[in-house]
């Protein structure tokens, strides 16, 4: 059964279309990623799916419930970690978690146990009795992730879960997200603009740009779709004899020769290296160096949107600024 079903979902803010007729489905237990630059419409999508924002048009079902008509049932089945901090800074870390657990109707004993568990997980046990206003940015983030996990949601939304965290904490959180998904079967929808995060975590990734999906598939397939891996062979001397050999192989999609370096494009390059070396030896050509380069999601993003994600962010920032200027009342602030 699909935990999330979205058809032609659209959200407009005045004349600005933040999300433009997207459709997708996420089966139960999947770890699904929305990858795109800031301002691509990822957070707006998450807000609509979590009932915080009303869609302008289209349909969205979460856990089998319509996000407009069955708001309460949707909320009972989801957990969410927001991109922006959503903590009460006057309360302590523990009080924030306790507030959450009580809002989700957990009993006293269960609350105590789960809160201890998640605090330990994000390594905030020692800071639990400190008011959140004295927390660092990273600590707040970790507390929020802990909070999203307290009530065992069937579907968990993570909006940029590791934004602004150091590498070590990020790794920790990645591992936990994977574990949560695999062992507990929690369906996870994650937004990110980190390529390696989407690649490492997600079963399927939707590449989002300007409110629409540019592509949606398994990361491997997206990358393979670009034509495959590139193997560079640096030869000792001239390799003319080898070129005819290579041309005869149908699994090599592209051959480029530059001086004594061959660049070969193919799928599953790592499985072909021994064969290539063998061919070279048979032809009596010595190989000095072999390099295998796998296309990254960065390449995929570039392919589908015509720009790198950083360029997309820069232009999106300009666009947002233009929209804001247009909407600003005369006199400004």
């Amino acid at each position: 059964m699909d935990d999330i079903r979205v058809e032609q979902l659209t959200r407009k803010f005045d004349d600005f279309t933040a999300v433009d007729r997207i459709s997708f489905a996420v089966p139960a237990g999947e770890l699904f990623g929305l990858l795109g630059p800031n301002g691509a419409g990822k957070t707006t999508t998450i807000n609509m799916l979590s009932t915080l924002l009303r869609p302008t048009s289209g349909l969205a079902e979460v856990a089998g419930f319509d996000v407009i008509r069955n708001r309460d049932q949707v909320r009972r089945n989801i957990g969410i970690v927001f991109q922006e901090p959503a903590l009460d800074s006057q309360l302590t870390g523990r009080e924030n978690l306790d507030f959450h657990a009580m809002m989700y109707g957990m009993g006293r004993e269960e609350r105590r146990r789960k809160i201890d568990e998640v605090l330990d997980l994000v390594e905030l046990t020692e800071k639990a009795r400190v008011q959140v206003r004295n927390y660092s940015g990273g600590m707040k983030r970790r507390l929020e992730i802990a909070r999203g996990l307290i009530h065992h949601p069937r579907i968990l939304f993570l909006d940029e879960p590791t934004l602004g965290l150091d590498t070590q904490t990020r790794r920790h959180i990645w591992d936990y997200i994977k574990k949560l998904n695999r062992e507990r079967g929690v369906t996870i929808i994650l937004t990110t603009h980190y390529m390696e995060e989407a690649d490492f975590l997600c079963g399927r990734v939707a590449i989002m740009d300007h409110g629409t999906f540019a592509a949606l598939d398994v990361p491997e397939k997206l990358k393979d779709g670009l034509g495959g891996d590139v193997i560079s062979l640096e030869l000792e001397g001239n390799g003319e004899a080898l070129e005819t050999e290579f041309l005869a192989l149908d699994w090599i999609r592209k051959i480029k020769v530059h001086d004594n370096v061959f660049s070969l494009t193919m799928e599953k390059g790592e499985r072909r290296i021994p064969e290539l070396i063998g061919l070279a030896q048979k032809a009596g050509v010595a190989v000095n160096c072999v390099e295998l380069r796998k296309p990254s999601l960065e390449d995929v993003f570039l392919y589908f949107t015509g720009k790198t994600i950083r360029e997309a962010e820069a232009s999106q920032a300009d666009r947002n600024r233009a929209v804001m200027m247009a909407h600003r009342p005369r006199g400004g602030r």
């Binding site: 807000n47 979590s50 009932t51 924002l53 969410i80 009460d88 009580m102 809002m103």
Partner: protein
């Protein structure tokens, strides 16, 4: 539909926030104290037209100042939704699987408690400037009025908080809604002294009936009589809570 745990936890949060900000409590007592001390003492020997039966000005003023404190504290409590929106915490509340009615009730319960504590503290301060309360029945009637005043204005605060989306609207409301409500209520002087058109306007101010009722209960002087004030105030309170809950329900949180 009404989730009592949610109401309780939202109330608990207000209590923690209120009692943790001790300097704010002290600060919020300063203005009522200065009003009572300077206005009350400064005008104490002046005869206020319309104040009858040997009531000196300080006795006349204290119920008005209690009403003022309740007004400010309650509007502030209703508008605290704005702060929660600003600091993101509103999302955490809105995404929880509890009905919006429970959220509104939790806010009202929390705001009402802080407003009552505030009102009682102001009453205690008034003892310092020579105010005396007749007895327990009078105090209980006054408490009833305090509850109705605070729920009315928390409701009003919720209406505003649902309609305006940023902090700039906050000062507009403070300056163009709250202060006129205060001055039109007759908290400082008898409304008979106002020109007819302003007096007509004052009938639309809930605090007019609240202050009159408090005065009736605490010093036995009122224009309409305690029973009528209670009736009107009760109706306004129900209406405002309903309006506040309804606009909050309609509003988007993101």
């Amino acid at each position: 539909m009404i989730d009592l745990t949610a109401v309780y936890v939202l109330w608990l949060r207000e209590m923690k926030r209120y009692f943790r900000a001790k300097s704010r409590i002290l600060g919020s007592l300063a203005i009522p104290f200065f009003f009572m001390a300077f206005l009350g003492l400064g005008f104490s020997r002046m005869a206020v037209p319309g104040v009858t039966g040997g009531v000196n000005y300080i006795r006349y003023l204290v119920p008005g100042i209690i009403g003022m404190s309740l007004l400010f504290q309650s509007i502030f409590a209703g508008l605290s939704v704005l702060w929660d929106r600003e600091f993101g915490f509103l999302k955490e509340i809105m995404v929880a699987p509890v009905s919006r009615v429970s959220i509104v009730l939790g806010r009202i319960a929390g705001g009402m408690t802080t407003a009552l504590v505030q009102g009682l503290l102001v009453m205690a301060v008034s003892l310092l400037v020579g105010f005396r309360i007749k007895g327990v029945p009078e105090l209980l009637i006054a408490l009833l009025f305090m509850i109705l005043i605070s729920t009315s204005f928390i409701g009003l605060g919720l209406v505003f908080a649902s309609k305006i989306k940023d902090m700039q609207g906050y000062s507009v409301i403070m300056n163009f809604v709250v202060f006129p409500l205060f001055f039109l209520s007759g908290a400082l002087y008898p409304l008979d002294n106002l020109p007819a058109w302003l007096r007509a306007l004052s009938y639309f101010d809930p605090l007019t009936y609240g202050v009159d009722g408090l005065r009736g209960a605490l010093i036995g002087v009122s224009v309409r009589g305690v029973a009528i004030d209670l009736l009107i105030m009760g109706a306004i309170s129900v209406l405002m809570v309903f309006l506040g809950a309804w606009t909050f329900e309609q509003s988007e949180s993101a």
